[in-house]
């Protein structure tokens, strides 16, 4: 039996009457890289938040390295154990770092929480982590406001790696950075994955980016998985109209925004009509072929 680094089955979450995540399943191999793509409201961020325990799923299972975490953690030991396995890097490095905590303290905090290290060992490990992400002593002493966006995101990555997680969730982690810096961070992430075998779950709407960073892709639309499979195959021959729309939406020479706008409206109408009868009568019915890691397309 293959043990997945991350395994999600039939995850579901609603807020009031609105179903944000609807029967989402996928898995991530150890050291693999999976991208969840979709527009805002597709449920991609809610999915990520459920994985790290920031939201509680209504139903479904989440397993990280084989251990179930579908229910709320009881007690500090369980919470810490879960945090060691899965870490997250957020979109905005200007909001995700405490402005009053120096870079060194920021990276030491998880070490203090999770490992019984002596202060000396801790400092050594901290320096190792900072060096890993390309930051030196000068940055270690600084407060976040003295750092650029790219440097801050490096700090966030170093902190996330401190617990040696099996899976790192990157929620639009390079979206707020300048292009020339984004490419540096992507290089760094690729290098870290090669060296440590950590698995990545990218949450993004940028398909051009996905093409270069993810082995597999999961396309979400209105809370459901509409297509999944190896990135190369899905992008080369997208089968679901929404995946095609996302692909066409990426600006490039010869781009036709008017056509995309028309396609988008047509798709929304078609799906509304297709779903209206069955969704009203039998909300729990789903297509069975939404299994991840192999090529699949739903309606």
């Amino acid at each position: 039996m293959t043990e997945y680094a991350l395994e999600v089955e039939n995850l579901r979450k609603s807020f009031g009457g609105h179903v944000a995540v609807d029967d989402v399943s996928f898995s991530l191999k150890p050291g693999g890289s999976l991208a969840i793509v979709g527009e805002s409201g597709s449920g991609k961020t809610t999915t990520a938040r459920m994985l790290v325990g920031l939201e509680r799923p209504d139903s479904g299972r989440i397993r990280v390295v084989g251990r179930d975490r579908s229910n709320a953690a009881r007690g500090k030991a369980t919470r810490l154990a879960r945090a060691r396995e899965l870490q997250m890097v957020f979109q905005d490095p200007y909001l995700s770092l405490d402005p009053r905590v120096s870079v060194a303290q920021c990276v030491e905090e998880p070490l203090r929480l999770h490992f019984g290290m002596s202060p000396r060992e801790r400092r050594a490990r901290r320096d190792e982590l900072l060096e890993r992400v390309g930051l030196g002593e000068r940055e270690a002493d600084a407060l976040p406001r003295r750092l650029s966006g790219g440097q801050r995101q490096r700090v966030a990555i170093a902190r996330a790696l401190a617990t040696e997680p099996k899976v790192l969730i990157l929620d639009e982690a390079t979206a707020a950075l300048d292009v020339s810096i984004q490419a540096q961070i992507l290089d760094l992430l690729a290098e870290i994955r090669r060296d440590t075998g950590v698995g990545y779950l990218f949450v993004t709407h940028n398909l051009a980016l996905v093409r270069h960073i993810a082995d597999d892709i999961l396309v979400l639309y209105q809370g459901r998985v509409v297509e999944s499979g190896p990135t190369r195959d899905v992008l080369a021959a997208p089968e679901h109209p929404y995946t095609r729309l996302l692909l066409h939406s990426v600006p490039r020479p010869g781009w036709d925004p008017a056509q995309i706008a028309a396609d988008r409206r047509a798709l929304a109408t078609a799906l509304r009509e297709a779903r209206a009868p069955s969704a009203a009568a039998e909300p729990a019915r789903h297509d069975p072929d939404a299994a991840p890691t192999r090529r699949s397309v739903t309606p």
Binding site: D178, S180, L245, V250, P251, W255, I260, R264
Partner: protein
Amino acid sequence: MTTRLLEIENLNVRLAAGRAARPILDGVSLHVERGEAVGLVGESGSGKSVTCRSVLGLLPEGSQAAGSLRVDGEDILTMSSNRLRELRRRDVSMIFQDPRASINPIRRIGDFVTEGMRAGGVPQKDALKRAEELLESVGIREPRAALRSYPHEFSGGMLQRVMIAGALAGGPRLLLADEPTTALDVTTQAEVISIITRLQAERDMGMLFVTHDLELAAAICDRIYVMYAGRIVEAQSAERLFRRPRHPYTSGLLAATPRLESDQPPHGVPGRPVSLAEAPDGCAFAARCAHARPGCTEDEPVQREIDGAQVACLRAEELIHD
């Protein structure tokens, strides 16, 4: 020679004396013709937004500007405040990045769209009728009901359409768009861009489109200016800029952008973008440039024309980036 719709010549901007005193723009020159879409591309701190805002006279408080900035021959920098208000209402409009931050949340959509018209003396009834037409032209369903709605009832993409409708209310000749789709999803971005480009063509407006996204600029603009550290480093037609970037910074930006159609992984530019105040002597990009020579850190490169491109690089003749 006919006057250009927008002509910026040798614009220098400095923040005022005191702790924050520093230069932010150095010798910026650009122009936009009638009906032309022009891109202004750069990373954070490059001065692209300051340049764009300066056209409406929206300079940072207490800053000093030198040079000239003319709309249809009239200089913004020496204009009376009355004339400037009239210009903002009628001739030049701006679409800002974040509609939630730019539209008053406690006033109705109708108030927002008609504000300029009412200030210009258009009767309320006519202004509302005109606003309804404008909302319809940007694809708002049930425009009459929308007039009575509040901003929180709209999604980001819909509210950005409202902002476009408001920007068009005075029938401007020049449209300034400051990252108008950066806060939107890719599919919504395509929709909003299609509205902007359609209206720009229909109304024969000139447009200055500010963005950090070179691909987006190339997809919709005729010409592109690339800024780095408060200066313009390259200007070319969009198509040629992509095929044959002349400045190492432009080719670096192109190489750093992840592409759908390319197997080439994005390649980072070492270091980070600097602002004009941090820029050392000579070429501001030299420290990050793979082609830098000792001379590059001594003399500031002067912009010159090579094969129809304006380039500010000492080695532009020798270097061709394919």
